[in-house]
Amino acid sequence: MSEKASYFNEREHQICTVARMIEDARTYWVAGGGSPMASILLATKLYAPNAIYVTEDGVLAPEPALPLDPLMTMVASRSSYRALQWGTMNTIGFHAQIGLMDYGILNTLQVDPYGNINSTALGDYEGEHRRFGGPGGADSIAALCWHTILMTDQQARKFVPRVDFISSPGYLDGSEGARERVGLPRGTGPWRVVTPWAVFDYEDRHLRLSGVSPFVTIDQVLAEMSFKPRMAKKVETLETPTEDELALLRTELDQRGQITDVGKPVVLQDDGTYAFVEEQKEKGDLPSSW
């Protein structure tokens, strides 16, 4: 692994953290075109050349024409380039339904201690609420892949005791067999939640803090959660991005910063510690969810 970077932003750090989780020769169903896509592409370039990914529009194992510029959309020739098979939403959904997808990588709005995901509504769905776009492909990813990796921000409004609306299933009420009792495939479920500040895994289907970024403290992480997660015996300090990772990310994967510009910059200080800094590049016009 190359030298640690001395300047990066927290979104870049999050993407690199997920990229290093990618197992070689495993299949990934990747939601949308933002951080999940950047993570898998980074992984295949650096660590897991035989990791395979598919997208919701039925692309199997492409060698995409990078950068996916300027719109990181599906149903496009650059993102579909040199795939092994072009299918449809239905075909790729069935591939996942028969168990071919090892991991899903997702974004979300809200998550709870059992890994349930809300992307539909904040507030009281039956009454006063703010409406969002719905699960899209995330419900199928969360239901059908063997494991899911959730990417979100470390904010108290995102980590809530009970999501306002379960758009995509985690461990539901957290009881054993809860997923199976509603017809979901046996042995599936949430696996990791990765934020710019922390990594969580699950213990008995409950979210557990297992790693923290070196530029924040455990208490800072917990302060940005509306419930107390379980704690790993030893909470690890997460690795920060390398120069190689960032070079790839910035020059090939996200040239215009459409994904990464939403993160706060971090610097490696002379004393070996990290600190946030305020300056930030101007944001682009495109929504970060692309």
Binding site: M89, V182, P185, P287
Partner: protein, 326 residues
């Protein structure tokens, strides 16, 4: 006689399930003869889209969708549509902003004030699904079935606000979710090539275009190119949609604009930024004034608001051709 339990059921309204009624429609209305079906966007939408229809479109306004048909539908002020809003980005917002919609079956749409407000004010009712559950529903419709089992969706709050049911599978005894088949009144599908009868080819990935064509009572195909039927017959493995389910063929060059048509042209980025920003900022009416009500047709929009240079530019940027020709 044994019994199966229905363990749970959603309370969302769903389009009436009626496979025999759909068969009757197909029998009476789908021409088996090879008759030319060429018409303009205007004529196709006038003739085949009615107020109150359940509307399905393949892909969407930004991704190889029937964008010219969607604009025409808004221009004709169609009302009270029930929209299959899966994989939809800005399309739902455009249709809601145009006052065309009363119900949405949601898979995903780009949220923004237009749809959000319409739902909050009760002008539009949302029922909750996911993208794949919606494409499974239309696949069941394309197969002539009343319902389809799925292994997702159970346990979500979407389930509660949908037409899904949880039953005990009579084979394994385990719980399984089933969802109602969908046979839309009308489907809009943009393709790469079609002959005048409606035999059509799509290249590249997609959502559920074959299923949509088979499942829908009325099918409008818009196409970048009109090709000879002889060409279809020379490579029948490339036929995506057979003529006998197609009711109208619209020759629509740049029909997916501002979205990309793989192999033909890329998306028009400034336009995409404009419509995405309009959606997020509640400026859909302004967008519609300019691109929909401000012109009378696709041709006029391309000519007056886009221009030959931009069209040439987006064609030129479509450098990847592999796999997009027969």
């Amino acid at each position: 006689m044994t019994s199966l339990d229905v363990l749970a059921e959603g309370r969302g309204e769903y389009l009436k399930v009626d496979p025999d009624g759909f068969r009757d429609w197909v029998r009476e209305n789908k021409s088996r003869a090879l008759v030319p079906k060429l018409m303009s966007e205007k004529e196709a939408v006038e003739k085949l889209v009615s107020d109150g229809d359940y509307l399905w479109y393949e892909c969407n306004y930004l991704q190889r969708g029937p964008a010219s048909l969607i604009r025409e539908m808004i221009r004709q002020k169609k009302k009270d549509l029930w929209v299959g809003a899966k994989f939809t980005w800005v399309t739902a917002a455009l249709l809601v902003g145009g006052g065309c919609v009363s119900k949405l079956d949601v898979g995903f749409f780009l949220f923004g004030p237009t749809v959000e407000q319409a739902i909050r004010e009760g002008r539009v009712t949302a029922y909750e699904y996911s993208n794949v559950v919606m494409t499974n529903r239309i696949m069941a419709g394309a197969m002539g079935l009343p319902f389809m089992p799925v292994r997702s969706f159970g346990g979500t709050d979407g389930f509660t606000h949908s037409g899904a049911k949880l039953i005990n599978d009579p084979y394994t005894g385990e719980p399984i979710t089933i969802v109602p088949a969908l046979n839309p009144d009308v489907a809009l599908i943009h393709v790469h090539q079609a002959d005048v009868f409606g035999n059509a080819r799509i290249f590249g990935t997609g959502i559920s275009h074959q299923e949509a064509a088979m499942a829908s009572k009325k099918v409008i195909v818009s196409t970048e190119e009109i090709i000879e039927t002889d060409e279809i017959r020379r490579d029948p493995g490339r036929t995506t949609i057979p003529y006998y389910v197609v009711d109208a063929v619209v020759h629509a060059p740049f029909g997916a604009y501002p979205g990309e048509m793989q192999g033909h042209y890329t998306s028009d980025v400034p336009h995409v930024i404009e419509i995405v920003a309009s959606t997020l900022r509640g400026l859909i009416p302004q967008y519609l004034d300019k691109y929909v009500y401000g012109v009378s047709s696709q041709a006029e929009m391309l000519d007056k608001l886009v221009g030959a240079n931009r069209l040439k530019e987006i064609q030129g940027r479509a450098t990847i051709k592999e796999g997009y020709r027969a």
